[in-house]
């Protein structure tokens, strides 16, 4: 019923995941596959672009919780960008902004990764 897909592209050393559609218990495994591939390829800097994501359920949120530790342990991170207001509200209510970085735009998130690199 609910459509979901993930597109991946690289900007320098940063990997951007573009999410589209509905991220729930049924579609979460698809996102998990992408994260597993990134870890297999030792790519730990991830920006998730939510521009086309319409809905996220608790199972969808769980995906980021499951992988963020591995990314951070390897000097990477998961950063979020381009969230629609109602999607952001879900993150906000749960206190995610305290634990993850949120950006208005993908490019800002990438820039932030690159600045960290210089340090």
């Amino acid at each position: 019923m609910a459509e979901f897909n993930v597109n991946k592209h690289e900007v320098g050393s940063v990997n951007v995941l573009d999410l589209k559609g509905y991220l729930d218990a049924h579609t979460a495994p698809e996102l998990e596959r992408e994260f597993n591939k990134l870890i297999d390829d030792r790519k730990y800097k991830v920006v998730v672009n939510f521009k086309d994501l319409n809905y996220i359920s608790s199972a969808g949120l769980g995906v980021f919780m499951a992988y963020v530790e591995t990314m951070r342990e390897n000097k990477g991170d998961i950063k979020f960008s381009n969230l629609k207001q109602d999607v952001y509200n879900i993150f906000d209510l749960l206190g995610f902004p305290m634990l993850y970085e949120f950006y208005e735009d993908e490019s800002e998130a990438i820039k932030n990764f690159n600045e960290q690199n210089k340090d």
Partner: protein, 688 residues
Amino acid sequence: MNSTFKLLKKLDDTQKLKISVFAAIILFGYKIVFPASLNIFVMLAGELLVLVTFILWSNYLIVLIKNRINATLTILLNVAILNTVILFILKLAYKLFDYSFVKPENINFLESIFNGFLAFIVIVSAAYIFEVIETLFYLKQKKEPKLYFNLMIIMMIVTSLTRSITYLGFSAQFLIDAFEAITISLIVMNSFRVAWIAFLSKSEKIKLLALSIILIVLFGTNTGVTWLNESFPLYNFSPGFTKFLSLLMIYGIIYFSVVLFTTLFHIPTAGAIDRKTQELSSLMDLNKLLNRITDLKELGETVTKMTGKVCECEAAWLSTFENEELHVNSVNNIGFVEAQEYTEYLRKIKTSEAGIVTYQNDELENSGIKIKDKFNSILAAPLNIHGKVIGYLFAARKNEYNFDLDDENSIAAFAGYAAVAYENAKLVKESIEKEKLEKELDLARQIQHKILPKKIPRFNNLDIAASFIPAFRVGGDYYDFFELGNNKLGFVIADVSGKGIEAAFIMAEVKGIFESLSKVIDNPKELFIRANEILSKTLDKQKFVTATYGILDVLNGKFVFSRAGHSPLLHYHNGEVKKYIPKGIGLGIDTGNKFSSFLTQMEIKLNNDDIIVLFTDGVNESQNEKFEDFGYERLEKIISKYNKEDANTLSEKIIYEITVFSKNNIQHDDITLVILKWNFNNKSFGEN
């Protein structure tokens, strides 16, 4: 007439036998009194009695014959024996008495008694013989050409009765001859019903050949004996029956002549038919065996193993479609890797959607597949279900004989059975899984039901209502009240991430944590920090729990609460609804110290008629047919509108509005609603 026959057929065997014996005794008695008579009424009454006795015995004997008709040869042997008996006792009668010039009035008592016994044996034997032929006539016939057979019976009776009348001195020989001619024509027509011969095995057919020769000889001899009507021993007893007997004997000759020739023609092909039948029955056995296996893996192994029995082949394997790709499912006498290589190679060179495909030596030579002894021919039969190919069964042969048409047909039939069995096994597996899931959901619902509070506490100043609507898949909502003493009421509303049995187990854990912590920590923030420590250790990385915990002083309305990632808390006060979202991360999301440093605690003082509304996201995320959320605003409006109502009524109004709003969409998540209404000095509540 018809109803009389139906009644006769309904009787059980003993009743039939009793009534038949009874008829025979009456006939016997009658014939002692009137051994023979030229009086028309006496004579016709006697003939009628003979007919009735014959019919009754036929009616009794046909059941015995039908029950044993599968042993056709034994039944025919009985016919031969009875013929011999008839021949023997007729010959005996000729020896004992001189029948050549017996006049009705000259019959002595001894002769009457002898004739009575003679007649009894002959009538019963004739009834048996007649019913055997009738049963054979109808045996293995697809259509029942009743008309000709019944017409023949009628003509036999008519001819016989005409004969009876001539006994009285009427000259009607030409009539008898005419009727007899018609009867014999009908007999010839009916004698070609010999379909049952085809179903005999080869050895049975050979035996039948010998038996039919014996039967022709016996019927022929008896025809000769019964033909001389007027000097026949039973002529005076019943002239009509004498005629009937001779017609029956003629029927016997004709019928068994046809049987003899038919059998003769069948014998050359009998061996081949036997083999086909055997193949067919072994296919049936395989089918039965296949249908007993419901495990997919075992089924695949059995199918490949049995392929060798269906046709001669050294190796076999089964490939089925998974995600539109053919994968080897099971193998016999060939490795998985080789089987997969062959499958892919064969599909490349030649395919057929629905039919069977045979690959010959020249096509296999260049496969490049490394295998010890190369296959000379391979047969691929599709597994068809409702016109859809779900896989292929491969049979491979090493010797130089290619698979022939017979092999193809057998394998095709076997593959058909295998396909059905495979589909059944898959359905069984699916239904077992579905049942498991349903049981699991049942269990989850039971757990949830046990976890939620049975009773809501009551206080003078506080009106409390709680509503809970479970989703089909248990959503993991939880609420509870804790009476803490010192006029303090603790309460919690929580939502566990995930669904089903897993969510139910986490709920149980959460209940345990809140129940025990609420007793020792009287500060919501501290309680959450401790709860987060515990849950962070036990929850899976991707699981979390949102909750709001509050403590209310039921004497003065002082209300302290914290929110761990949960939905907002609504507070109705003096005509407006305030939405409180104090900072707080969901439980189990952060394992470090950010949780505690971020978490805040709010304190408010409730005034008279203030309402506190707690809920889970099932409320605001309820959707209508346009997939719009119910949202917070609708909820706030309803609270404002019904603020004068008591907590229960308000709760009912909210649930009603949600139900109406989302009536055209599925409820995805549990819906929980807890309402507290502060009624200071309102003595009407909970006085006791």
